[in-house]
């Protein structure tokens, strides 16, 4: 085993970790926001909005992410409206294209996950909130969202981990994140096994940290599901 080569490779790949993390963070953030919008449309009761949301979810869940990314990266520039619009300086950046397609795709999956969470909120608890005078955004913020998010968290955790791995696809639209840098190293050294093993280790380490954080969050939000505390609270005076 060539320790010197492995550690050199590791160091080179670690320098690309910030790019991977930026891709990941931005696409999870914007994908999450977009998912909220889609799920709102989906359950709005308006047939037009709900139909659009259904179509959106079908398209982005039903087609390969790689093709979506290619369409955004190579396809958008063919339209004059985009090519000559003020957006073009942004949209010709590989990073922007990668984040855009990752976010668009995860929004489709996340919207369905959030919708499942919403459906799991007991009608009784919603009714109790209405009966006390809550409606609209207050009802969503105080009752619906916290309960739905807790229900959705296990499935959403999986989606987040999948997103971390999907950032690897950005290498194919020339974003120099971990996988992209790994491929460049391989083309220079022809040492496929060692370089990709190092890359895999990096993704494992990142996902380990993310999963730990998510399970901590899940634990913190599950107080009401655990066994009761043993001693009653003292009576206030």
């Amino acid at each position: 085993m060539d320790i010197a080569f492995l550690s050199q490779t590791m160091l080179t790949l670690i320098k690309a970790v910030p790019t991977t993390l930026i891709l990941f963070a931005l696409s999870v953030f914007f994908g999450g926001l977009l998912a909220l919008l889609i799920v709102w449309m989906r359950v709005s009761g308006n047939r037009l909005l709900a139909g659009f949301a259904r179509g959106y979810i079908f398209v982005f869940r039903g087609s390969p992410l790689l093709i979506q990314m290619f369409l955004v990266f190579y396809g958008l520039g063919q339209f004059g409206v985009i090519r000559y619009s003020f957006l073009w300086p942004f949209l010709r950046e590989p990073m922007v294209c990668a984040v855009l397609s990752l976010a668009l795709c995860t929004a489709g999956y996340s919207a369905e996950i959030f919708r499942a969470g919403l459906r799991a909120v007991p009608t009784r608890e919603i009714e109790a909130a209405r009966a006390i005078g809550m409606s609209g955004f207050l009802l969503v913020r105080r009752i619906l969202a916290p309960i739905a998010f807790r229900h959705a968290l296990p499935a959403y955790s999986t989606e987040i981990v999948l997103m971390m791995k999907s950032t690897a696809l950005a290498s194919l639209v020339t974003v120099w994140e971990v996988t992209g840098v790994a491929q460049r190293l391989i083309s220079q050294t022809y040492r496929t096994m060692e370089v990709f093993l190092c890359a895999a280790l990096i993704y494992l380490a990142l996902n380990f940290i993310i999963l730990q954080a998510l399970s901590l969050l899940e634990y913190a939000l599950s107080k009401h599901r655990r066994a009761p505390p043993t001693s009653p609270s003292p009576i206030p005076r």
């Binding site: 007991p122 009784r124 006390i132 105080r142 009752i143 009401h224 599901r225 009761p228 009653p232 609270s233």
Partner: protein, 257 residues
Amino acid sequence: MSGPSRLSVRNIRKSFGTHEVLKGISLDAKDGDVISLLGASGSGKSTFLRCINLLEIATEGEIFVDGEEIRMVKKGGRNQPASQKQVDHIRSELGMVFQSFNLWSHMTILQNVIEGPVHVLKRPRAECIAEAEALLEKVGIVDKRHAYPAHLSGGQQQRAAIARALAMKPKAMLFDEPTSALDPELVGEVLRVMRALAEEGMTMLVVTHEMSFARNVSNRVVFMREGVVDSSGTPEEMFGGGGSPAFRQFIGHLGPA
């Protein structure tokens, strides 16, 4: 008792599809009235109660809470409240206690009780906490205030739900079969709390199967049958042999109260 009218309901009708559940019900509750609504299941008494705070929208009829009429409009041939803001306001003035408690499972008992005062009435949190603790002490579960609903017995949960409704300082309380989901040995603790409330002068509308409550605590008994008020009167009149034949048959089925 003859105070001002707290709750007044005129000619309420409610249909689900072609099935008419309520066929024109009127009811007037004065300040301090405790009215028991009795009837076989399917007689429409829960639906009637839910129409009052608009958890169900009556197909026809008028509702007044403390003199304020709930404004309705026809939309696409269906009756709808004219203003969600008014609905929220009316609901915040009516305490509702459900058969299956309906506490918010992700909040502690104390959080459940202060939720409405803090977020709906927008009152200062510290004040609400102090009041909530006093209310929880009154219903006998102040030592459970930091526990979650799932950690409490049914009777304790229902008492917490009553405290949650009281924290809004309601003008009247609606009880929808508050003891029907409880084990028999837990019914008494909830009824005791309700009795104490009645004695303090709270206006209460209680859908119940507890004949002892109807007889000994309420000052009026309304017997519903097939979507109409079959008969009503004081407990003495109704249970003293003055009810309709249908009512006598109804209580006969349940055995002596």
